[in-house]
Subunit: 119 residues, 2 copies
């Protein structure tokens, strides 16, 4: 039952698109991640996914619209919905999602992270 300081933990992350586990509760995980550039189009068959911006901003691209998520804002992407995060500049993000969630969803490629580190 120690507290976690988001900015302190995020400052330890040096690479992009590599979620780190900062907490776990009720089978869900709190993950910290830095985005930069465009990710890959994907969806999650069984998991809804929450993205909360701690610092900076990014665009959540959907097939029919784009939504810019700024500092202090979150968006929930329901299971099954194709999406692609795209960050013109570096952005710090908190993810809330089930422990089972794979970062690239239904796809596997060089950005896939099978085993996440704790931070």
């Amino acid at each position: 039952m120690n507290k976690v300081n988001l900015s302190e933990k995020l400052s330890l992350i040096k690479d992009f698109w590599n979620p780190h586990i900062a907490g776990e509760l009720n089978g869900q995980m709190v993950k910290l991640v830095k985005f930069k550039g465009p990710f890959v189009w994907h969806h999650h068959d069984n998991e809804d996914e929450l993205f909360l911006v701690v610092k900076g901003s990014f665009v959540m691209e959907f097939r029919d619209k784009n939504v810019q998520i700024n500092e202090g804002e979150f968006i929930i992407v329901p299971r099954g919905v194709e999406h692609r995060p795209n960050a013109p500049e570096e952005v710090e993000v908190v993810l809330f999602e089930p422990a089972t969630t794979l970062n690239t969803g239904n796809t596997r490629n060089e950005l896939t992270r099978e085993k996440l580190e704790h931070i």
Copy 2:
């Protein structure tokens, strides 16, 4: 799939200890709440609970220690652990917890909120 601005939504909440539902995913809820003063001692039999401070700070009291949670920090209180949030000054908080969670846990009193409003 609309984004939610935490500060904007929190500015609409005028009372204390009354969580409002700002999002739902995977059977979990994102709730926004303002604390002021001491709450009641309680625990949750089946739910772990996350508290993230958006603005201000509060003290999470446990039977054996106190932890001050500041802006940009979170704490996870595991199920079964007695706790009491105590906010000397008004504080804005995000809760992440199962949809079934009752705010006063194993107790019922004038602070219990059975039905939560969406915001």
